[in-house]
Symmetry: D2
Subunit: 110 residues, 4 copies
């Protein structure tokens, strides 16, 4: 994330003296809960897969997930861009284009 | 996120022709599943809240959550930094410092 | 659940001396993780909603969810049949047939 | 579950003509969402693991998880007691008392 975004999120936390609640276990719980709220936008939509007309809710719930990801990254001193790029290297090994192209299988089923 | 990170994630997807699977509903499911894998690092830890010795797993699972967030943001043409900053404005309204300082209550219970 | 099922689940736990790990917070986490594994059966299925050919995985993952529900109910001394029947009374109030018939809206949107 | 409980849950569904929404994928999503609501009771509790004073919320959210489990079992014609007992046999193989006693490790780490 951009420095400005991270700063804003941490300032919000510190202004409210909330770091005391933000232990890693409860942050992991919170990421999970916000992910569930994002998923709720798609509940009962059946075969309609794109939440038409609910883009605003998607935007807000995705922002909540990211908010807690920023706080989790801060708790462990991680740089979000770095860890994604690092993980992509793993994924490149796990899912070589030659095997994975056009298939949605898990790497251990390819 | 940084342009480079987003580019890398989208290139990984496109090299494998995976956009066909990445409808918003399944992406929302995937964010939820990766959030659960992150949470799994803390399962059975009881009152030990910081997953000592498991920092690498935290890093990898958080990266997976972010990976799918990037793909979800792309599906809706959203800028992740922008939506977080926008949400922080809402949160500032919902959780004024004067009411929320030092309290972990939800805004509707403050 | 039937007495026999509950007995078997509790005996399994006690034979392994696992009650020490089964605090309510970690049990709630575990129900969530197993629910995610059940959901994983449906990941990337797009508009195909019934996990054809994967009925065995559904069965096993649903059993895992129920297993932890039994342990959670035990932790609070709750009777699973009773609490469901009690909740159905609430739901009957929240979702009167006249308003809810044929609609998938949440009660506060009806 | 007891016949009476299952009957009540299915009658509630059928009185509202909701079977049309209850495809397995959305039921799996719903179990996950209710599991998250149950977990929410424990959010920000830190090292306090038993949700003291919130037993009523635990009861209600656990009932919601079970409600959707009943609907999922019905969708696949599964008997909840049977599948739990069957799974316990697997678990007995995966977690022999001699290896698992007093340890919270996953079977593949024992």
């Amino acid at each position: 994330m951009k420095e400005e975004t991270i700063k804003e999120v941490l300032k919000f936390r510190d202004d409210r003296d909330w770091k005391q609640f933000h232990n890693p276990k409860d942050l992991a719980i919170s990421i999970c809960l916000e992910a569930a709220e994002l998923l709720e936008v798609f509940q009962w939509s059946g075969a309609e897969l794109d939440a038409k007309g609910k883009e605003d809710r998607v935007k807000e719930e995705l922002a909540d997930v990211l908010n807690y990801c920023i706080l989790m990254a801060d708790a462990y001193g991680l740089d979000m861009d770095e860890i994604v790029l690092e993980k992509m290297k793993d994924n490149n090994r796990k899912y070589p284009v030659s095997k994975a192209k056009g298939k949605s299988d898990k790497y251990n089923e390819l």
